[in-house]
Symmetry: C2
């Protein structure tokens, strides 16, 4: 006789899958954990699939073969993503977010775990079916959203730093030019941070001229890595002519009128 009731196994399977997005959990694991026959687990998984998919909480994928099992695909549906991003814009349009110099204060938002969790899930949704090895970001403000993206893709995060540290060991350091000023900066990454010939995506919080993204693209060449995509939370409309051509913003900062205190920021709707 099974030790746990069907109800209980289904609940527990959902908890385990939700805690481990995009990771294959074997039928064996569930079978041992719940002292249940594999055939019982198979039936449970069908119910789990129905629950998650009926309620639009993502997808449950079964993977056949020796390394087979069940995987929670956390893809967020487009309506939920659009409504979340519209709410976020509403918050970002508050006029007290304008900082002298024409900047917008949004650090509070991208350091809120429940917000970056959803942002990471939205970005991850774009790449769930691609073969990617790492999520790469540049310190500091982009780290939370990049980490959550990495969590939903079940991939390691790589953080490029401005200066190398003794704890990095041997590093690769490059110079790069900001896209909007002619300032030259450096970025550095430990040689052992990534394997050769990897596929990566770049995730950051903000893009203006695209200089940082271009810098990371060049740094990745030093590791023989292929950049499969660049995602940013906010891209400013200006300048039009960014250093990188292919990038996916979630939001676009159309304009910021300091005098009239109007921040025009909107979800990105493609071209």
């Amino acid at each position: 006789m099974d030790k746990y009731k069907r109800n209980e196994r289904i609940g527990a399977i959902i908890k385990i899958l939700a805690d481990n997005p995009n990771k294959i959990i074997t039928y064996n694991y569930f079978s041992e954990r719940f002292s249940a026959a594999k055939s019982s687990i198979s039936e449970d998984v069908l119910v789990v699939k129905k629950i998650i998919e009926n309620l639009d909480m993502g997808k449950i994928e079964t993977v056949a073969g020796a390394a087979g099992g069940v995987k929670y695909n956390p893809e967020m549906n487009k309506e939920e993503a659009a409504s979340f991003l519209e709410d976020l814009c509403e918050k970002l349009r508050q006029k007290d977010r304008i900082i002298p110099g024409g900047f917008i204060y949004y650090t509070d938002i991208i350091y809120m775990p429940d917000i970056v969790d959803k942002l990471g899930r939205i970005i991850a949704s774009e790449y769930l079916h691609e073969k990617i090895d790492y999520v790469v970001t540049m310190e500091t403000k982009g780290i939370p959203v990049a980490l959550m993206t990495a969590r939903y893709l079940n991939l390691p995060l790589i953080i490029v730093r401005r200066q190398s540290k003794v704890t990095d060991g041997t590093t690769v350091t490059i110079n790069y030019v900001s896209g909007t000023s002619s300032k030259i900066s450096t970025m550095t990454l430990s040689k052992r941070a990534m394997k050769k010939d990897a596929s990566v995506i770049i995730v950051d919080d903000f893009m203006k001229g695209g200089g940082t993204a271009m810098g990371i693209v060049n740094l990745m060449k030093e590791f023989d890595a292929t950049v499969k995509g660049i995602s940013v939370l906010i891209a400013s409309k200006d300048p039009d002519n960014k250093l990188v051509k292919e990038y996916k913003p979630l939001l676009v900062l159309e304009s910021l009128d300091q005098f009239n205190e109007i921040i025009d920021i909107r979800p990105y709707h493609g071209i």
Copy 2:
């Protein structure tokens, strides 16, 4: 008649609670989401509680009153935490982690989402019953574990920076002295990053002399904040005489013998 079966509601409630640790979800929310009577939801929650607690996945707490509802308390049980930390030490003892100068390379580990997720859950477990407003860390390497801690506590993260940026607006900047050298550095935080009279915990990846932690403690005084705890992933045994006295390490680096290539790192077991 209820639109969803009990099975389905239970699975979905578990998913929603697991995605929102330490956050009260109202019965109303569930009732509307599943078009079910509140009495049905109450019964579902009892089953959910039984599942989560029987399987040692945390606790389900019900909160009475107008703002009442259900909360997932993600407290990890001590055996699971101990076994996870022992496995982590095993990885950290690999001799190829020794970096010239007597350092240990562990960046790969603290940038792995599934690992920092568990570390954040273990640290959060210590503070789930305290009244805390923010989790504070210093850039860069401690950010992933601090973010995950903040996620499990359902609190905003605050990242102290080495240099102020234009997007910070007005900042408070202090000098601090490293605990192990006499080097003076600065740390800075936007004035609008936190409200006055807050209670905070400090979370970081590594503590040697305690200078950074002491610096953050002093910075918090400028915001009239009370530090309720300091948690670090790894504390080095040496020096014994750290600048902060009360701190909780998960692991202790007892010694690192470069010549014989032995890293002695162990879970912390209190005094």
